[in-house]
């Protein structure tokens, strides 16, 4: 099969990134102003093409290249649509206007614009590659392609020591996690003798058939070790709890649009990789060994609870949102825990559907919360600093009612209140937990949703109920910038917040639309057309 046919979305995005890098070295600074527009066009174009392809040109069989290293079925397609769609919002949020007013980014876009958007596109392309990878090497490369540009973006996003610190921390910890993950991949390769995921899934399935019992553990000790190391690496990308320590500092240190990107793109890559590996370990039938199921259950519960409790203790809104994103990883992991539970039937499929829906919902509602923060001024006239602390946003909801309401919608959705997409996300997750007969998980999830309400409502309450804080008297505003006045709204940023709020509300209020997304997630919840190709098909694919 033609390679271009299989990977054109990635090729478009990566190709544009290359053009943007070349734009970055052109001697004319004016040319770099076009970089944001170029990035937007490429992502939007890819998004439209993917949707069009899904609706009208879907071949009814997997797309794969000759060596079966890339394999695309509805699952991969769904993730790609999600990555490009949410990516459009991120580009709009970091649009190079309005940088002095709210300092949503201190980048001099006539200087670094090409690189910034090029890196952003590469990161999104990484998620797309993870989604279509069917080979360990490609999977690893995809995860790292999603992660490495973010290290650079964190460092260059603000000319402040705190951003440098965040970048260095994120880089070293990320490298460590990548090393552990790679170690796991090496054991998996060493014990199976192949890097092809379909082939490995078939080996596990064959071994289970040979043993004859469905409950037999098909993994050897080394393979178990490998899987645990892989889960470790993916948990870092997800900021799941024993590996969440970087999240607070990094999310706070980066400029707000970069924080928004961090809370979705690397997370999606880790989640997708985790789903793929679980599918492989389950021999293509989601029969996950019980110890791994227990591990994921504990991981999910810890991530939810610790994320939410630590979220209560913060006095920086960006840090609060960082812990909220940890908690949301926990909610996503509860779905994964149901997938890995020893239930039979179609629970696994339903759980994956709920997880995929939740990922989309989280992407939509989360971007809006960061977008509103970017429009509010900080009381500190620091470069590239939008509203960060609770004092910064105090009373701003009454000064700017629309912004306050937008933040309220996003926060309500993140809590999971009805009439928002977040409600349906939690509803579907809890429904599969019930169907999986995991009542403890249900109880813990609901308690966590209640805990999280405390700090989300604190954000909303600060915006509406508190009096506006005085600007620091000893910190005069920069010349020409009125600190207490609203930032002159930049249209792309307003558009991004508008899209997010609109999506959050419309998917929560109009059930047919929610159902459309949910059915799309259902088709996406099958990773392969049939369970897995049998030996003859697999060998035919290998050649």
């Amino acid at each position: 099969m033609n390679l271009f046919e299989v990977m054109w979305p990635e090729l478009i995005v990566i190709g544009t990134a290359c053009v943007l890098f070349l734009l970055g070295v052109l001697p004319m600074p004016g040319a770099r102003r076009a970089s944001a527009a170029l990035a937007l066009i490429s992502l939007l174009g890819t998004f439209v093409l993917l949707v069009y392809y899904l609706m009208f040109r879907w071949p009814g069989d997997t797309l794969h290249d000759s060596s079966n290293a890339l394999r695309i079925w509805y699952f991969a397609h769904y993730i790609k649509i999600l990555a490009t769609g949410i990516g459009v919002m991120f580009v709009l949020m970091s649009w190079p206007t309005n940088k002095d007013a709210t300092g949503n980014s201190a980048l001099d876009f006539t200087q670094d614009g090409g690189e910034f958007f090029g890196l952003m596109l590469l990161s999104i392309a990484g998620v797309m590659l993870v989604a279509s990878a069917n080979d360990m090497i490609l999977l690893f490369l995809g995860i790292e392609l999603a992660a490495i540009p973010t290290y650079v973006m964190v460092s260059i996003s603000r000319p402040l020591p705190v951003a440098q610190e965040a970048g260095v921390k994120y880089f070293f910890l990320g490298a460590m996690a990548a090393a552990v993950m790679l170690f796991g991949f090496s054991y998996l390769y060493g014990t199976t003798g192949t890097t092809n995921l379909t082939e490995i899934a078939r080996q596990f399935s064959d071994r289970r058939t040979a043993v004859g019992s469905i409950n037999a553990l098909p993994l050897s000790t080394w393979q178990m070790l490998a899987v645990i190391m892989l889960i470790c690496g993916f948990a870092f990308k997800l900021a799941a709890v024993p590996l969440h320590f970087y999240a607070g500092d990094v999310y706070q240190g980066a400029a707000t649009p970069v924080t928004a990107l961090l809370s979705f793109v690397p997370k999606a890559s880790g989640l997708v990789a985790l789903i793929k590996i679980l599918y492989v370990i389950g021999g293509g039938m989601w029969i996950i060994p019980a110890p791994i199921g227990k591990l994921l259950w504990i991981l999910a519960v810890l991530t939810m609870s610790v994320g939410n409790v630590l979220g209560l203790l913060q006095n920086n809104v960006k840090r609060t949102l960082a812990y909220s994103s940890i908690a949301h990883s926990g909610y996503l992991l509860t779905g994964i825990a149901v997938i890995a539970s020893p239930q039979t039937g179609f629970v696994q499929q339903d759980a994956l559907q709920a997880v995929l829906f939740y990922l989309a919902a989280y992407g939509i509602m989360n971007a809006g919360a960061f977008g509103v923060l970017m429009m509010l001024p900080s009381r500190h006239p620091k470069a590239a600093t939008s509203a960060e602390t609770f004092d910064d946003i105090a009373g701003q909801g009454r000064n700017h009612v629309v912004l306050g309401l937008a933040m309220a919608v996003c926060c309500f959705s993140l809590i999971g209140l009805p009439l928002t997409v977040g409600f349906f996300g939690k509803l579907f997750l809890i429904r599969v937990q019930l169907r999986g007969e995991d009542y403890w998980l249900v109880i813990i999830t609901v308690i966590n949703a209640a805990i999280s309400a405390a700090y989300y409502l604190r954000i909303v309450a600060s915006m509406f109920l508190r009096a506006t804080s005085e600007a620091y008297p000893h910190a005069p505003a920069p010349v020409g910038v009125e600190r207490t006045a609203p930032a002159p709204a930049s249209f792309p940023l307003v558009l991004a917040v508008g899209l997010s709020v609109f999506g959050t509300l419309i998917l929560g209020i109009i059930p047919p639309l929610t159902e459309t997304v949910f059915t799309t997630a259902q088709t996406a919840s099958s990773l392969e057309p049939t369970s897995i190709p049998n030996a003859t098909q697999a060998s035919a694919l290998a050649r």
Partner: protein
């Protein structure tokens, strides 16, 4: 081709490594013998000049433990770009020729893949160049 170069078929394939082992023994033996012989029979006369560090006949100035210009590291990274290029070129080159012979119609794809790879690395090189990595003032 490659097989004809290494076509010495031996009964025990492990014996194919015998020349390498012999070479290692000779190399180590030569060095050890020379050092031992000069220690044993060489004249031992020391002096101030003889005890200085030998640096191409120059009188040494200062310490080596000092800061280097950061540009050295950047140039080293550019070197890595080319280095990685070679690491991938070599295995590719070994399979390309047999591939052309066996299935000439599909070998174009293999060539294009390498061209894309080299193109991407060249892009990185051009980027570094444009950013002034090779400007030394």
């Amino acid at each position: 081709m490659t097989s004809s170069l290494l076509a010495v078929q031996l009964a025990d394939p492990r014996l194919a490594w015998a020349p390498v082992v012999l070479l290692i023994i000779i190399a180590v033996g030569f060095a050890v013998t020379n050092v031992a012989v000069s220690i044993l029979i060489g004249p031992k006369r020391s002096g101030k000049v003889k005890e200085t560090t030998y640096e191409s006949g120059m009188v040494p100035i200062g310490d080596t433990r000092r800061r280097f210009n950061v540009r050295f590291y950047i140039v080293a990274m550019i070197f890595l770009v080319i280095d990685v290029d070679i690491i991938f070129f070599y295995p590719w080159a070994t399979i390309f020729a047999p591939y052309v012979q066996k299935m000439p119609d599909k070998s174009g794809a293999l060539l294009i893949e390498m061209i894309v790879f080299v193109g991407l690395l060249l892009l990185a090189y051009v980027y570094a160049w444009g950013k002034g990595v090779f400007r030394w003032d």
